[in-house]
Symmetry: C2
Subunit: 245 residues, 2 copies
């Protein structure tokens, strides 16, 4: 079985202006990896219809799943649902279950204002993605999952979405820490990577900006085969020990 | 004068696996905005040549500048310089000034090992981007700026790169805070946005995940014309006040 793949599309001017730091990409990376889905690409685009439509169509065609975050609130700059509807060629329609969810959440039907009711508009045929934090749902259509931008709500929606997606084969990880600099172990690591093509070996230095020097390296080995990861880990450990002057 | 635009390309498996949280996008967003350059898109791709080449060519063609981070160290998984060389159609060659910089940094010529010397390989014709933290430089060729992934080094390289790029027209920002929920001010905000097309108005709720409710909204007005931003700010303030029940 080929491992399922995914892309994340973060939608929001506030990320690109520097006002808000994106944390949703790293949340998605963590949850998707744990679910056996390989996150292959992440993009951030503005709250603009053309940019969203283009990115949605490029990414949904290329990966097994596309997860978007941001732009599904009640204000004028929340245009994700309409843009995704356009990308998918589905008309934007009010989802009765979404209206019912929000009516229940707000208690008083008078609180279901036109602005809030806008959050019940989804592409025709979409299924809802609930969350325990707010009344307003995300939605999914085909392989596209549309989630809120507020990090706590996004994480709840992603967990709900993943509960309905079959997990991919588990990703195994091993790490080897060394106090040596990257340059001292580079040749040894490369040789191990060449000899263990079934795993991915990454080298991540701990850089101390104050001391202006690397304080060591964490070598990370990842793969879908536990014994291959363990064999590569042992080989990395041995190679690093032999590199020590 | 049209405002210059930019994209950021973050290169690294560790971001997509969830091991490392990307902070370089938000650093770039902040510094580029302050320099009058509109960041229009950010992408994260793996340490894979095909993915890097495709993203570099798509983004350098579309925006005034492309800034990459990650993958320029001494290990086997650092393939950015070679991939950018391929994307730009320039052969990868050793830059004498980069060798000299590193030799000076390490002091002892014997410390300029083959692994470290790899960091002097750049596409032919590239100019170097120095930084005060390490001997290994980034580089630029055409409108593509290639920087390290370690956040402190990336920030130093971006500052150095921007010191040689003419600033774009200043971006002015005003913010209006309200304790009202987004839904209560949505119609008023939309009317202000329609009446002030020269600025961009964004609505950002403060969501309290513990209390499961929005604790208010920050409305952000941005534009290149200070008086237009101020006029929109005053209109937002008045509209929000009138929305108050």
């Amino acid at each position: 079985m080929n491992a399922p793949t995914a892309a994340v599309l973060v939608i929001g001017n506030e990320i690109l202006s520097g006002r808000t730091r994106d944390v949703n990409t790293t949340t998605a990376a963590r949850l998707l990896t744990a679910h056996g889905i390989a996150l292959r690409e992440a993009r951030v685009v503005p709250d603009g219809q053309a940019a969203i439509v283009e990115a949605v169509n490029a990414l949904r065609a290329r990966y097994t799943y596309l997860f978007t975050s941001g732009g599904i609130g009640p204000t004028h700059d929340d245009i994700t649902a309409a843009a995704v509807a356009k990308a998918l060629g589905a008309p934007l329609t009010e989802h009765p279950e979404a209206v019912a969810l929000m009516a229940a959440h707000y208690g008083d039907p008078a609180k279901l204002t036109p602005a809030r009711r806008k959050m019940a508009l989804v592409p025709r045929g979409a299924r809802l993605i609930g969350n325990a934090l707010t009344g307003a749902p995300g939605f999914a259509l085909g392989n596209v999952f549309v989630m809120a931008g507020v990090p706590a709500i996004m994480e709840a929606m992603l967990a709900a979405a993943l509960s309905e997606i079959p997990p991919g084969p588990e990703v195994f990880t091993a790490t080897v820490d060394t106090t040596q600099p990257e340059s001292a172990i580079a040749a040894a690591l490369e040789a191990v990577q060449i000899g263990h093509a079934g795993v991915n070996i990454g080298s991540y230095p701990h850089f101390d900006a104050h001391r202006r020097r690397s304080m060591g390296v964490q070598v990370v080995i990842r793969g879908r085969d536990a014994s291959a990861v363990e064999a590569a880990r042992a080989a990395v450990e041995q190679a690093i020990t032999q590199s020590t002057v």
